[in-house]
């Protein structure tokens, strides 16, 4: 069936685009120059006693003579609630959290359930005996709950976020057509997937069969039109996300670890000093006379000049 093959191709291609686009974006951000320090406290990998009040190693007399300990537990204690439960939104924008959290957590459940479905499909191919028993049944129920809860939460979340964007005067003037399209994209895709699966005709393949067909490239599988549409839309959505600001799951790594929490001191002989030494050879072209950047002078030469005394000092 051409439709089924087309769906498989879309899904494989979308996964590839997603991975490559995410990698390109992450590498792009990672390769940007090391910026000047711009941290914000509290920094959770500070020593536990200081994390509580948001303190830094600057609170310690002669801090550079003492060992700096990286508090991994503190960092994970800050990261996990943020990643899983959107802690910042809960603390600082509670009403929005009640809309945003279901949406995001619903997506997590859907991603998890899709992974589980893939795992079940692989196991039914290579360990059919295992999946025929109680374990298989338990995984099947877990899958059903994950998909159902995920779809409901994500759809309700997307709908309520859309309603908020359309009705809240504080959001309206900042909302673009693209923002509404993004939410609509989620709503339509989830609607097609859920509707297409729930309302599938008798004799249509169950989810596990679809996953198995995807893995084995089974062209004989007949996908109901609405479900096929949902799968194609989900492929398009997957490929589209890393091209937009919705890829903030990548950005967040950098905004937190490379900016907000980056308190690494420039100790003698450190890698930081080596990297900055290269940037000091850059030749900026800012046009204001007091900067004295002519495209020839280096950043270091400009910083060493004194525009108030007419020349290098």
């Amino acid at each position: 069936m051409m439709t089924t093959i087309f769906v498989y191709c879309c899904l494989y291609l979308a996964a590839l685009v997603f991975v490559v686009a995410c990698a390109v974006r992450a590498v792009f951000y990672a390769r940007l120059p090391l910026h000047l320090r711009w941290e914000l406290y509290p920094v959770p990998h500070e020593e536990a006693a200081r994390v509580e009040h948001g303190g830094s190693y600057f609170e310690v007399t002669n801090w550079w003579e003492k060992p700096l300990r990286f508090n991994w537990i503190g960092e994970w204690k800050a990261m996990l609630p943020e990643m899983l439960f959107q802690k910042a939104l809960w603390e600082f924008n509670r009403t929005l959290w009640f809309l945003s959290f279901p949406f995001h957590f619903g997506l997590y459940l859907l991603i998890g359930a899709t992974g589980l479905l893939g795992g079940r499909a692989v196991l039914t191919l290579w360990a059919p005996g295992l999946m025929a028993g109680d374990i298989g049944m338990a995984l099947r129920y877990a899958n059903a709950v994950g998909f159902a809860a995920g779809a409901v939460l994500a759809t309700v979340g997307a709908l309520s976020l859309m309603a908020r964007r359309l009705t809240d005067a504080n959001l309206q003037i900042y909302t673009t057509a693209g923002d509404l399209f993004n939410l609509l994209f989620f709503i339509v895709t989830l609607g097609c997937l859920a509707g297409g699966y729930v309302d599938r005709p008798a004799g249509s393949p169950p989810a596990l069969a679809v996953a198995r067909g995807f893995i084995t490239f089974d062209a004989g599988l007949h996908l109901p039109p609405l479900l096929a549409t949902g799968l194609i839309l989900s492929a398009l959505l997957t490929a589209y996300i890393p091209m937009t600001h919705m890829s903030h799951f990548i950005a967040k790594y950098f905004t937190y670890h490379a900016v907000r929490w980056d308190d690494r001191p420039n100790l003698q002989g450190s890698d930081l000093a080596r990297r900055v030494a290269e940037y000091l050879t850059y030749r900026p072209r800012w046009a204001a006379p007091h900067v004295g950047a002519d495209g020839v002078k280096t950043w270091a030469e400009i910083a060493s000049a004194n525009p108030a005394q007419g020349g290098r000092k």
Partner: protein, 536 residues
């Protein structure tokens, strides 16, 4: 004038009239004794001369005094320069210093407005749209996608449209000076976007490309400091004379001989004050000298260019000026072969030299920097002075300078001192890293041109004023002297002007001062009454 809902497109409005006007009744209410908006000060209108000469089309005030272009051609040239600067902000050769955080903020804001609730200016203005942290950023974001990323119709559909013209650029210049750069907004952003950084980068664009900056921080600030050594205008001889006078005065007042050491090679500590202290609050450097000598510390001051003035206004608007001053500070320390630099009570100087300059101070210029808060805690808690807390038995609250606390993580040392020495200490709420800016941050405390102080006291300082009044609600009676401990020169400048504006010394006996003054006031070896309960 009835408040209208502002749109982003209003920034491009050709008609040169202010986009917003604030009435006292619209502002965030204040507690007693300032709870009646009808009794609040009227705003001074901008003079006819200022309106004729400068771009005044943003709100009720002006901070930068941008001359009005004389022709369309001149306007177009300024817009061309703006675009040129905008592109440079996003290249590593021109802006490696902040490119990564700026790009992340440009490309990933979810426009959820969580930051707005954290912004004291937005809240104090009565939630006026113009002062929402994302209002400024969203305009820059749209310009970025349109002119830097060269997005076409699809980009405009995805990211939004904006019309670029001179009125928009002129308003953006002013709007970049309606943010204290306190970064409280960034602290709450779930994504980690930083609207304070956007204001900072805009100021850089205007200064580094177009040569436009508030004159108080550029001409009379960093340029003057690089010319004579201090933004106060004091050269080395003048500062030595003033310090000698202060030493004499403090010796007489305290009964303890005070002598400030100058240019002592090999001293353990180079102490750098904000030189504004020497002129405006001489008791602060005097108290430092007394405490350090009494504690037996090996220290010195430097008479090198900028070596006696820790201010670094470049940190608010210009990377080149910032780096130049930071290098001067480090060079002064290197020349004296000191073990470390200790920064006096100045918040932005702390952040500039200790944190932001850290990565450009390499080799033998990488001399350790330490906060005076830490040193004073060491002296007080370490028992190196004889202290009697009952001498400080009056209500004291502690202001957290943003640069020292949220942006550097020095939170507890000053608290340990105040808790030990002040029996009636009470915190403001919120405090520590969640504090609110004094309203004078990012240069506002020294910007008093036209009617800008009206905006500074009614809007940017309003939240802090509320906190102060709340902290002293149980003792507003003028017979009880009260002390705001503000270990930062710029914050003190804001408090001085704001308390005077609202007459809170006369009406409620609310005074302000530094941390080290509380220490000397509690020293038993010193004549009682170091803190003088009189307005200055």
């Amino acid at each position: 004038m009835k408040r209208q809902k502002l749109r982003l497109s209003d920034m491009s409005e050709e008609e040169r009239k202010p986009l917003v006007h604030l009435e006292n009744e619209e502002l965030m209410p204040l507690p007693a004794p300032l709870d009646d908006p009808a009794k609040d000060h009227n705003w001074t209108p901008l003079s006819a001369q200022a309106q004729e000469r400068y771009e005044c089309a943003l709100d009720d005030t002006i901070a930068v005094s941008i001359p009005q272009p004389k022709s369309r051609e001149e306007e177009q040239e300024l817009v061309r320069k703006f675009l040129s600067g905008l592109e440079k902000l996003f290249t590593k050769e021109n802006n490696w210093t902040f490119l990564q955080p700026l790009l992340l903020t440009m490309e990933h804001c979810a426009k959820c407005q969580t930051c707005s609730e954290a912004c004291h200016i937005f809240e104090a203005s009565g939630r006026n749209e113009l002062y929402r942290p994302t209002y400024r950023s969203e305009i820059v974001r749209r310009l970025y996608f349109k002119y830097v990323k060269r997005g076409g119709l699809v980009s405009a559909w995805q990211h939004g449209e904006i019309k670029l013209n001179w009125p928009l650029v002129a308003r953006l210049i002013e709007l970049s000076y309606r943010c204290n750069l306190c970064r409280r907004c960034a602290q709450t952003c779930p994504i980690g976007a930083d609207n304070g950084l956007v204001a900072h980068e805009l100021r850089k664009l205007f200064s580094q490309e177009m040569g436009i900056a508030a004159k108080e921080i550029h001409d009379n600030g960093s340029m003057l400091q690089l010319k004579v050594g201090s933004s106060t205008g004091m050269n080395a001889e003048a500062v030595k004379d003033n310090i000698a006078f202060i030493d004499e005065d403090i010796s007489e007042k305290t009964g303890v001989e005070v002598k400030t050491p100058w240019d002592v090679e090999g001293a353990e500590i180079l102490l750098i004050h904000n030189a504004g202290e020497i002129l405006a609050w001489p008791e602060n450097p005097g108290a430092f000298a007394l405490v350090l000598n009494a504690a037996g510390i090996s220290w010195t001051m430097s008479s090198e260019l900028a070596g006696y003035d820790s201010i670094n206004y470049g940190v608010w608007y210009d990377d080149a000026q910032f780096a130049r001053v930071a290098l001067k500070h480090a060079q002064a320390a290197r020349k004296l072969k000191v073990k470390k630099i200790v920064l006096g009570e100045c918040g932005h100087a702390h952040k500039a030299l200790s944190v932001i300059a850290d990565r450009i101070l390499g080799g033998d210029l990488n001399i350790p920097r330490e906060s005076s808060m830490t040193l004073l805690r060491e002296i007080v808690v370490g028992g190196r002075l004889k202290l009697d807390p009952t001498r400080n038995n009056f209500p004291v609250t502690l202001h957290d300078p943003c640069n020292l606390v949220r942006l550097m993580g020095v939170v507890e040392p000053q608290r340990e001192v105040v808790r030990k020495l002040c029996p009636q200490f009470r915190e403001m709420e919120p405090h520590g890293v969640d504090n609110y800016c004094c309203g004078g941050g990012s240069g506002f405390a020294i910007m008093s041109g036209n009617n800008f102080p009206d905006w500074r006291f009614h809007v940017s300082g309003r939240k802090k004023l509320e906190q102060i009044l709340n902290a002293f609600q149980d003792c507003l009676d003028p017979s009880i002297p009260k002390y705001i401990c503000a270990p930062c020169s710029n914050c003190k400048g804001q408090f001085r002007d704001m308390l005077a504006y609202y007459d809170l010394w006369k009406r409620n006996s609310i005074l302000y001062g530094g941390l080290v003054e509380l220490i000397v006031n509690a020293m038993t070896d010193v004549k009682p009454g170091f803190i003088e309960w009189e307005w200055r």
